[in-house]
Symmetry: C2
Subunit: 328 residues, 2 copies
């Protein structure tokens, strides 16, 4: 079978690709496990180098997800699954509303229509976000049963795509599953335009011997999850029995609810003798305003029932990052 | 100021137009009450005759709401308000998914973008629906704080437009308000493609001396509201103080929760000596399946706090219909 990952050359897309290449198979539209003979990593830009694990199954294709023809041409087999990760991120969406609508909403509709045009009911896993929650009426603990009143254009488009995926699935156009992600850590490389970028920086920059300037204080709290469990959650949700998911195809991924202070403490514990760059706090009103709209705690009973994974604590996440990106 | 009603020549559009013409003014983008000097009734079809109350202020324009240029040309002044009622209805949307997306979602986006292009922050009142609720996780009592998991494409597009209106309003692009309608009774004329059409037929056909065949039994229960309170709710929500509405711009309108048996009893009480056509029950699985997804009860505390009206009981609704459509 063929697998398409949109946003496939981004951080999570690459990790998911590596995981799928190692697995070698997925449940196809037939309901049987099928070997993956083609893995397309679709993204807005082409990376300059191929990753070492990208074997002959991997094709990298760049293009504009808001162009319907482009997206249709990716979904050119009936034995296919799509992981739809491409997205304008939260901070970026606040700065460019039209881009967020074009990439996240029009792009999403293009993916949904392309899958609908195939025979059978191909599986789709969509990266939604805990940013679907927010606002003055937000519940203290958000999760599968909480009303979605997002306070960013990013979160709004994610909520709209959850609704669309539920309806396309109800109509039998494809078999969609939305994974509602908490903040994902620890992203390697450089800070990005996501308002949550600092939650990776607080680990990454000190471990690289660099200074980290935090835009929020140590009391800031948020639900988060490590990238290994995120990728494991995408695959487990893809493989889950459709009837067990039910008519609401969107599932809040497991998460750990921690403070920025907890993050700094875990970093220091796990780093041991490694030299760490300094951490300073310089409040940034733009980021603080967005972070203030985030939920303080999250529930994830449905994800647990479906067998989706979670790291046991922050220390496990920091240790995995050191293993994956510093020691290798 | 100018007022545009999309779906303006439909039942509710006409009643809203008559109400606005009689009022003569609305709160404009300036925040002050302004005389209405132009009232555009936009709809997919042009009626063959003008209504008696349509004076020189009223222009009837027909066109396709999914065409962006058409919609932009309607919103050609800064001192404007839009009541966006145009919609594919629930049963129609289940039979033609693409039409529902085109009219309800693309059409909605066209209205939102047209308002965004104006200076100031024009007010928009959108006709949402209690059909945004549904599914296996639906709360026993739905309302302003309930999660939206619609089980019709109609309800899904209404939920998506609520999300979009919240975000366009948050961004300051316009001042949107969504009125979440329960089933509206008593529609004059003929049955339409809405799955709820029978809830008007059960009153209308017997009062016209015609037989009524109900697709559901007397125990079927639903929240509903009379058209006078619906129109009053649209206007009151338009006039409401924006800060009092808050960051969730969608408000569940008041409703009465009654059974089909209650409806028949109220009809007989209010009809008095009028001869009534016979009522028979012939279950229709297509309609029963949709009705089974509707909420059983609804709350409307925010609407009450904002002063939105509700009829006191079914008898008041039946008496109003007799006055408006049979005795006049």
């Amino acid at each position: 079978m063929k697998v398409v990952i949109t946003g496939g050359t981004g951080f999570i897309g690459r990790r998911l690709a590596a995981d799928l290449l190692a697995r070698g198979n997925l449940t196809g539209p037939s309901g049987r496990s099928e070997p993956i003979d083609e893995l397309v990593l679709f993204d807005a830009v082409t990376p300059t180098e191929r990753a070492p694990e990208w074997d002959e199954r991997v094709k990298v294709i760049s293009g504009d997800i808001s162009d319907r023809e482009t997206v249709s041409s990716l979904v050119d087999r009936d034995d296919i699954s799509v992981f739809h990760l491409a997205s304008v991120v939260s901070g970026g969406g606040e700065k460019d509303f039209d881009l967020a609508i074009r990439v996240n909403l029009t792009g999403g509709l293009n993916v949904f229509e392309a899958l609908r045009a195939r025979a059978g009911q191909p599986r789709l896993v969509f990266a939604s976000s805990i940013a679907v929650f927010g606002g003055s009426a937000m519940a203290d603990v958000v999760g599968d049963h909480a009303k979605q009143t997002p306070q960013t254009t990013y979160g709004m488009t994610k909520a709209a795509c959850e609704l669309l995926i539920n309806d396309y699935t109800r109509k039998g156009f494809f078999d969609g599953r939305s994974a509602r992600l908490p903040t994902v850590i620890i992203r390697p490389g450089k800070p990005n335009a996501a308002a949550s970028s600092f939650v990776s920086s607080v680990f990454r920059e000190p471990l690289n011997g660099q200074p980290c300037i935090l835009p929020v204080g140590p009391e800031a709290v948020m639900p988060l999850l490590g990238y290994r469990a995120i990728v494991g959650g995408f695959v487990a949700l893809h493989e889950a029995d459709g009837d067990a998911i039910g008519d609401d195809r969107a599932v809040s991924l497991p998460s750990l609810t921690v403070t920025v202070g907890d993050m700094i403490a875990a970093l220091k514990r796990v780093a041991g003798d490694r030299p760490l760059g300094p951490i300073a706090i310089e409040p940034d009103p733009f980021i603080e305003k967005i972070v203030a709209t985030w939920p303080l705690d999250a529930s994830y009973r449905r994800a647990t029932a479906l067998g989706l994974p979670r790291e046991s604590d922050l220390d496990e996440i920091v240790a995995a990052y050191i293993e994956d990106y510093l020691d290798n």
